[in-house]
């Protein structure tokens, strides 16, 4: 079984191409805008609400999700012909959970301060619907390289929105960015106040809503026809 040559491309209608063919590039770039997991697929909303109060955790979360998604997409894709379909969801969950625990353990040993910063957020990756959604929708039916690109692309699309939301929430909610005060004291003296409401979850939803609005007014493809 081990010597089986892995199929890196679905070759029904596509010939194997150079490292990043235009179809591959689409896998990587589409999730950033046209097929964004949060604003278009509406996946991963839960963590977009939970961890976007400050920019720093959002950035680290985005990086961790890239790692976990790429790795689990690759693993599921490698084993895609061996996984019994009746327990495939359980298998996916086990793979994601294993990856997340490994990342957590390694961070604790080699990057203790980062791991403290992330604390529960790392564990939250397991529950992130995007990860399992892409495993189920893509990695189970596609080759390793394409699955890897899909994982990285979707994780980046997710991270991009996360960072945008966190940027506005931290800026208007606490006047900081990455924990550093950016709104000068002189403006506070003029009577400006931080909007504490930005720190609560509903404002994350509203911020995501505004981002979707802006995105759709720019990108008419996304607007449904009635």
């Amino acid at each position: 079984m081990n010597k089986k040559p892995y199929v890196f491309f679905i070759t029904k209608n596509l010939k194997p191409k150079s490292l990043l063919s235009s179809a591959d590039r689409k896998l990587l770039v589409d999730p950033l805008d046209d097929d964004n997991p949060i604003t278009v697929q509406v996946l991963g909303i839960c963590s977009a609400l939970a961890i976007t109060v400050q920019l720093r955790p959002a950035v680290v979360m985005a990086i961790s999700v890239v790692g976990v998604m790429a790795a689990s997409n690759v693993i599921i894709s490698i084993f895609r012909n061996l996984i019994p379909s009746r327990i495939r969801i359980i298998v996916q969950l086990v793979v994601v959970a294993t990856m997340v625990i490994l990342v957590d353990q390694i961070l604790r040993a080699f990057a203790y301060d980062v791991s403290k910063e992330l604390s529960i957020f790392i564990g939250l990756i397991i529950t992130n619907c995007i990860v399992m959604g892409r495993l189920e929708a893509f990695a189970l039916g596609n080759g390793v390289w394409r699955s890897f690109l899909d994982g990285v692309g979707n994780a980046l699309g997710y991270g991009l929105i996360l960072i945008m939301v966190a940027f506005f929430r931290e800026l208007f909610g606490s006047g900081n960015l990455m924990g550093v005060q950016v709104i000068p004291d002189s403006i506070y003296i003029l009577g400006y106040e931080n909007n504490g409401f930005m720190l609560f979850s509903p404002m994350a939803l509203i911020t995501v809503g505004i981002i979707i609005w802006v995105q759709r007014s720019r990108n008419r493809k996304l607007v449904e026809e009635y």
Binding site: I83, P84, S85, D113, I120
Partner: protein, 240 residues
């Protein structure tokens, strides 16, 4: 490639068992091979936290050296304020210790000396909104006034409860007096209505709370009271 029928019951059982064994082995190997490094990090962080309550800021790797330099005594106290020589105070894990009955518990106390001033450092542990919170407070030589405090948490909300780890919050506790004029223990309340936002009154037993983090704040205040009361017998013995 020999096509395996992946839909039979026996194959499903085989796949599931093999997966469990592989995953368990991988995780067990990772956990046990990384444990030593992780333990060192935790130990150094504990030293770093203890030192920072008495105003010694240091990096994690350096903490070990400075700890030996500044912390002169580690005591395990009983609830009556007696010293239990059999227990190493540094090894006491409050997370498990706090679940024992008060008679069974040993209360760790660290004594530090910086430039001829003696400080008493007390580890804390309690509950925030979502999970455990913990920290250390250092008392000055008079055993009534705080020298400093550090707090940390497992899972408080970022931007709200998690702000207890911020310097501006922890600095509020510097020089606060825990006892009233009659010598009765009062603790420290976190309040939004103390009319003292600048925190200039150090003997009001109050500091400014964090908006949106009332439950974390109350938990923190309760934690100081609950932990501190177990050390009162020992301090009373010293005062006599």
């Amino acid at each position: 490639m020999g096509k395996v029928n992946t839909e039979t019951n026996s194959y499903t059982f085989f796949f599931a068992s093999a997966m469990v064994v592989v995953v368990a082995a991988t995780l067990a190997f990772a956990a046990s091979s990384l444990k030593d490094k992780q333990d060192v990090n935790i130990r150094q962080e504990k030293m770093q936290n203890i030192l920072s309550t008495i105003g010694i800021e240091t990096s994690r790797p350096e903490a070990e050296i400075l700890y030996d330099q500044y912390i002169i005594e580690q005591l395990s106290l009983t609830k009556d304020g007696q010293i239990d020589q059999a227990v190493d105070a540094f090894q006491i894990n409050l997370a498990t210790e706090i679940k024992k009955s008060v008679d069974q518990q040993r209360f760790p106390l660290f004594k530090g000396v910086v430039e001829d001033d003696t400080y008493y450092i007390i580890p804390l542990r309690g509950s925030g909104l979502w999970d455990a919170i913990w920290g250390y407070i250092a008392l000055k030589d008079d055993r009534r006034t705080l020298k400093g405090a550090v707090f940390d948490h497992q899972a408080e909300t970022a931007g709200l409860g998690a702000e207890i780890t911020q310097t501006w919050f922890m600095e509020q506790f510097d020089d606060e007096v825990l006892f009233d004029e009659q010598g009765e223990f009062q603790g420290i309340k976190l309040t939004k209505t103390n009319n003292d936002p600048g925190n200039t009154d150090k003997s009001d037993h109050q500091v400014d709370a964090i908006s949106g983090a009332t439950i974390t704040g109350d938990g923190l205040s309760d934690m100081i009271t609950e932990r501190m009361q177990h050390y009162l017998p020992y301090f009373n013995n010293l005062n006599e």
